[in-house]
Amino acid sequence: MVPNSGTKARASAIKPLNAPTQVTVNTDERGMPSSVSIGGKVNEVVTIEDMWKINDEWWRGPDKEIERVYFHTRLSDGRPVTLFHDLAVDNWFRQ
């Protein structure tokens, strides 16, 4: 059974779906993710199955530019996880 969070049920108009969450990622010497910390547990990245780069909205200026390098990875426990490195703020996210 899901425990009661104690928060009041409410509905706002729009909720983003698939929003990125920040994670801690260790990288190897080439800048590729080698391990990722999810829920306080460090998982080793076994393979990187795909990799691509997004560069968008550069016309809105350096503060609002979106520059991400995506990695479709598989962890040691077999889970597929999509991570990206936000080059604009130099942080790692899971999506």
Partner: protein, 384 residues
């Protein structure tokens, strides 16, 4: 019980002393010192006798009073039960609009006689006044089976009556005595502003009533169609294995009633006499009107499942009410439309239960072409 003084005790519903045991009614030999709403401890101190305490049987009072109202309505169409106090001790009080009845029965004395005949099995007291309050006070001052009419200046009639007649909490009446206000005349002598300053809204009400002012309109009750069935158990039982078949049997009898033929009921009420405990009542509002024994039983079972009976029950009465006028239900040819309606009903149901807009969303495409994943879809509030 005949020669024994008796007090009917119930829970006080007033805000000031909610939940406390108080006096609802008493036998005449206990005298005029008893006051409705008085705490039980004070009542026992006054009685100083071997008093028998009884729990009220509200379902029985409700049924009996319902029969009285039907009898009164046969003689006069405008009958209003005093619902303001029905939860505590308002049973037995009704207001009747007698305008125009003189053409049917003759003068007021004949009208009073006709109404008195309608409730001949009870100790009826009838009062005639220009408003509800004056009629009530006149009835309180009249004698058994007789009527009393207030004519002339109402203030003169009210001035010597005790403040205990005012429809306020017992504690407030005690405070009035503390201020030396023992009769309605004492209150009427004060300016309304002073009463309001001391007692708030209750002060205004008491001031108005003591001056014979009551602007409440007479609202005749709407008669509601209902089908009722009753069953007595051979032995008192708490076992659902015995109670559920009994309810099923009552439902079969109710749905076989010509009044319910090809019609639906919106609500079921179960009433039971509990061994050595106050009667038990349960209401079941059907999510969709129930047109058959099976559907009604399903909802009743679901509610009974979460409930513990207060004790072994001796009998059970089932009343189906909120009867619809329809003889069938219109189903939609297009299943998708029907599905949306069901979804909307579920959302409405949740909204009532949660008391706020339920957090039910659906996935909608926002910018499906976007290269940024979180911008492609969003959760938007469900509006079927």
């Amino acid at each position: 019980m005949v020669d024994r003084p008796t007090i009917i005790v119930g829970e006080n519903n007033t805000n000031a002393s909610k939940g406390a045991q108080s006096v609802l009614d008493w036998s005449p030999e206990l005298g005029p010192k008893m006051i409705r709403g008085m705490p039980l401890s004070e009542a026992l101190a006054i009685a100083r006798k071997d008093v028998l305490l009884l729990e009220p049987d509200m379902p029985l009072y409700g049924r009996t009073f319902g029969e009285v109202l039907v009898g009164l309505e046969a003689r006069c169409p405008d009958v209003e039960p005093d619902t303001e106090r029905a939860g505590s001790y308002g049973f037995g009080r009704a207001y009747i609009g007698i305008w125009g009845l003189d053409r049917l029965y003759g003068d007021d004395a004949h009208v009073v006689r006709a109404l008195s005949n309608a409730v001949s099995q009870f100790d009826a007291r009838i009062g005639v006044g220009e408003n509800k309050w004056l009629a009530y006070v006149a009835a309180s001052a009249s004698s058994s089976g007789r009527g009393l009419k207030i004519t002339g200046e109402p203030g003169r009639f009210l001035m010597k009556l005790p403040v205990e007649l005012l429809p306020v909490d017992f504690k407030l009446t005690t405070r009035l005595h503390g201020f030396g206000l023992h009769t309605m005349g004492d209150i009427a002598a004060l300016p309304p502003g002073a009463m309001q300053a001391q007692f708030g809204n209750d002060g205004t009400l008491m001031s108005d009533l003591s001056n014979g002012i009551d602007h409440r309109p007479l609202v005749a009750r709407r008669t509601e169609e209902a089908v009722s069935e009753y069953l007595e158990f051979p032995d008192a039982t708490v076992s659902m294995a015995a109670i559920l078949p009994a309810i099923e049997s009552l439902l079969s009898r109710a749905y076989a009633h010509p009044q319910l033929a090809r019609r639906y009921a919106r609500e079921a009420k179960l009433e039971a006499t509990v061994l050595r405990r106050p009667p038990w009542t349960m209401r079941v509002a059907f999510k969709e009107p129930a047109g058959s024994r099976t559907k009604a039983l399903f909802s009743i079972k679901a509610k009974l499942h979460d409930l513990a009976l207060p004790g072994p029950i001796e009998d059970i009465r089932l009343t189906l009410s909120g009867l619809t006028g329809e003889a069938g239900r219109q189903e939609s040819l297009w299943m998708e439309v029907r599905r949306d309606q069901k979804l909307q009903e579920a959302v409405n149901q949740l909204e009532v239960r949660l008391g706020t807009t339920p957090p039910v969303y659906q996935v909608r495409e926002v910018e499906p072409w976007s290269r940024i994943p979180e911008r492609r879809h969003a959760l938007v509030q469900l509006s079927p």
